[in-house]
Structure formats: C-alpha cells, structure tokens
Amino acid sequence: MASARAAAISMRGVRKRFAEIVAVDGLDLEVPAGVCFGLLGPNGAGKSTTMRMLTAQALADEGAISVLGYELPRQSKQARLEMGVVPQLDNLDVELTCRQILTVFARLYRVARGERAEAVQRALQIANLTARADTIVRELSGGMRRRLLVARGLIHEPRLVLLDEPTVGLDPQVRQELWSLIDGLRTRGVTVLMSTHYIEEAERLADTVAVMSAGRIIAQGTPAELVAEHAGEQVLEVYGPPERLAQVDELAASNGWASRRSGPAVAIMRAETLNGLAPEGVRRPANLEDAFVALTGQEIE
C-alpha cells in the first residue's frame, strides 16, 4: 500500500458512461507524486472526461478514484483545495481584469486575506502578465488568456496541477512559452497531469506517457520505452507513386511487418529487424508518433 499512498492520483477500474457512449471504460491510472505525467490520446479517447472526474465535475459510474490521498467524490472538495486545474476551454470572465480574476480565485482557494495580493503578484509573474495586470480579459491575446488560465490554476501554489490540452489551438511560439512554464512546474516538484493529443508535447514534457484509446490506457512508459517497445529503433519510409506504395503495403503484410501510411510514404516499423527483403527507402529513428500510431491505429496531428 506504500506505493498507493505515494501516488498523487490513483484511478482503479473507472467507468463513465454518457447515455449511449462509454467515455471511460475500465481505466486504471496511477500518477506518482512529483512527475509530469502525459495522458496522450486522440480526440474522443476519454481524456477530458478523465480530467473532469478528478475534480468530481463528472462522477464515475464504477471504480475508485483518489487524489492526493483523498477519496473521490466524498472528499473531492479537500482534493480540489490542494490542486490546480487548467481547463481546455477558456472559461475566463471576459469583463474582469487579470488581477480581479486572480483575486477572486485566491479567495476561492482560501488564500489568507493578508497573502492574497502577494499570491496574485506571483501568479502574474509566473504567467508573465505583470504588465497586463489591470487589462480586461477581452483585450488580451489568445496566448495571454491561456497564460492567465494557467496562472489562475496556480494561484494557491498547488502540489498537483491538472492541465487539459494546455496548448490546443495555440500558435507555435505561444506553445513554446507554455511548455517552459509547465517544465518550470515540474522543476519545482509539482505533480503535473497533462492531457494532450499533441505527440510533440507529450514527448518534450512528460516523464511518463500513458496512451489512452477508447476510454482506457493501452500502454504506459517513458517516451523512449514506448518507442522502443512499439516502434523499435528505426523506421523505414518508402516513397513512391500510389502503385508502388500499394505494393509495399502488400509486401509488409505478407512478411508480417508493422507498417502504416505516413503522408506520401509507407512507414515500416522496426526497420532494424528487416531481412534482405526490405525495399529501398529512407531510414530514420523511430519516434513517439510511430509508437502512437502502432498502438492506436490512428494518425494524429
């Protein structure tokens, strides 16, 4: 039980059904304290539902959930007091200023009256919004709004932060900014659970990645482990006209090679194990995307 106690998040056999759809289907998930844990999956895999169950904004039909040692949903309020949440959808009050929003949330998170101004200042600093403290949210850029959402979830210095698709819809430069912000959290010992459908995001930030598909975890490990296990060392990419690609598909199938269509090419996994039958092509190191596609059978951004 010692390991269970050290876990920041533990979910066992969790199921959640919405009318006809089973969003989460027997999920087992254990997030150790102090790591950045990536929940990687295509849209509709059940990531957001999983996140909402951790704040008891969705209630599981079956299974057991505990967060920071608190049993959900019974002790969810205590758990929420000690964690921070950054939602996927922007739910900022557009009529208020950054400072006003952060002050309201400082109160909601029970930051003592005498410490609120300081907490707000610190959150503004983390999000690099000090110069915009008194700007109304409506006038902020998309990137600033997202940083404010993060600052709002950090106002009470939580030891666990849930980030639901933190950079979805952001341009590359803003994404980089957020990545360094998230990386900074991990450095400070905060446990991070981040859902994402961006492979690169998971690869760069997560110590451990769990691949989620159709409501359950289908593989878990460090990015390197996942790649080694599910895509091997090398991938052979064969380019050519459609007829050639169809031939290569056939060749792969008849030899039992794991392969996939990757844009204008056929990518064959575990190229290092191919015998002399290997077609002409470009060899490159296998990456998390290869592993992801091998696991889920789905292409991704």
Binding site: A33, T55, Q78, L89, N91, E95, V104
Partner: protein, 272 residues
C-alpha cells in the same frame, strides 16, 4: 488517511479542511459578482430609478387622474409600493435566468469555479444570495422616487430591504431553476410572457385583486409577489399587523422551496 501526507511532494502543507456551505466559498463566489457589479452599477442604478419614475408618472398621472383612491390609499401610495415588488421581481428573476444561463453555458464560469473548492450548493446559493441582496437594496429605489411624488417617509420603509431580499431570493432561485431546465435562452420568452407577466400584474401591484373574479383571486393568493406587495405596503405605510406574519411566512416558504429546487435542478446539470 492520517499518514497520507507523509510521502507527498514538497509544497504539501497543512490547510484548513473544508465543510458544507462554507462562508469562505460563498464570499469567494460573491466577490466575483461584486467585481462584475463594479462594471455595471451605474446602468443598474439608472434603470432602478428611471423605471419606477415612469411607472409613477404613467400610472400615477394617467390612471391616478381617474382613480384617486384604492381602498384607503392614495393612488401614489398604492403604485409606489406596488412598483417595489415589480422591481424586486424583475431584478431577481431575470438575473436568475439570464446570468445563470450565460455563465453556465456560454462563459463556462461555473465550470471554472467548480474546479476550485466550491460545491454546487455553495455556488448556486452564493449567486442567489448576491442577486437577492441587490434586489432588496434596489427595492428601496421606487420608494425614494415615491417620496418625490409625495409619499410620506416612514421608518418601516427600511423593512423593504429584508422583504425584497426574501422575495428576491425566491424569484432568483426560480430563475436559476428555469435556466437549468431551459434548452435555449430563447425559451425564457415562454416564462417571461406566460409566468412572470401575469405574476406581476395579478399581485395587487397596479390594481387590487379584490375586484377580480374568484378564480383569478385564488390564484393571486398563491402568488408570492402578492404577499410581497402586501408586506411592503403595510411596512411602508405603517400598518403592519398579524396578517403580515402569513405574508412573511409564504415568502420564506417560497424562498426555501425554490432554493432547494434550484440546487437540485442546476446541480444535476453542472455535474456529469
């Protein structure tokens, strides 16, 4: 569970534990309402003064020219006190409906707050509390306007604040319930025309219900706004008596019932 914290990461610290309907949570939710109110208080105050002025001018000068007295009251006394209830009704039921729907469905503010240590019950209660406090205070506006129209000042007028608060609590909660069950914001039109308009007219606001057919009169008796009007009138004109306990009782019961209904209905939809 007691030893649960020992192996947790840095940053773990002892914090106050949380309970049900905590004042800190209510205050936190309301602090947001206060911040927003800071943006539109001028418009609210303007309309809360101008609206009763128009009612008093239109009904007082128009209808009042034909109708000098209603029972033993002058028409100004009658209308000014009636408009208090109207003001309370509209300043509670409408925010209950629209603010709730907008914050819940469009701005997702409630989603954000429920991810913080705030329960559905606290969130909804705080929102209703804020609306009803405002409704109670702004309920004084028609009386202030009435004073300008010749209403006699009376200490009992201050009771309009608690009366407006309790009535506003019930109607704000009613509005929240409507927002919870409405599929779209356009559906509010059904409630406004089929429920709120008759409620506000058949409450002894602009004409006494005693002249209405018996069936309608019976309906008016169960209209919470009718009891609000009676209480406001008795308090503001210095004629409080035993029947007012019944009026107060009905308003309290209405507020309590609607409060629980609002939490039940919206709560079901806020938590999946």
């Amino acid at each position: 569970m007691m030893s649960g914290g020992s192996q947790l990461p840095p940053g773990a610290q002892t914090r106050a534990s949380v309970g049900r309907l905590e004042p800190a949570a209510l205050a936190g939710v309301m602090s947001r309402d206060v911040a927003i109110f800071g943006r539109y208080w001028k418009a609210t105050t303007f309309s809360s003064i101008v609206q009763p002025t128009i009612y008093l001018l239109a009904f007082g000068l128009g209808l009042g020219a034909l109708l000098h007295k209603v029972g033993h009251l002058t028409y100004v006394q009658y209308v000014a006190t009636g408009v208090v209830a109207t003001a309370v009704l509209f300043s509670s039921a409408f925010p209950g409906m629209f603010n709730t729907f907008i914050r819940w469905q469009f701005q997702r503010t409630y989603d954000a707050m429920l991810a913080a240590p705030v329960d559905v019950e606290e969130l909804i209660t705080a929102e209703i509390l804020w609306i009803s406090l405002r409704a109670g205070v702004y309920g004084l506006a028609p009386l202030l306007v009435g004073l300008a129209f010749g209403l006699e000042p009376e200490l009992g007028m201050l009771l309009v604040v608690p009366i407006g608060f309790v009535t506003g609590f019930g109607f704000a909660a009613f509005g929240v319930t409507v927002a919870a069950v409405a599929k779209t914001i356009d559906n509010f039109n059904y409630i406004t025309s089929a429920v709120l308009t008759p409620l506000f007219l058949v409450a002894g606001t602009f004409f006494p219900i005693s002249n209405l057919p018996a069936g309608v009169r019976a309906v008016a008796q169960v209209n919470p706004l009718y009891h609000c009007v009676q209480l406001v009138r008795d308090a503001s004109l210095g004629s409080l008596g035993t029947p007012d306990l019944v009026h107060a009782g009905v308003l309290l019961a209405f507020a309590l019932l609607m409060w629980r209904l609002a939490i039940q209905q919206l709560g079901r939809r806020l938590i999946d």
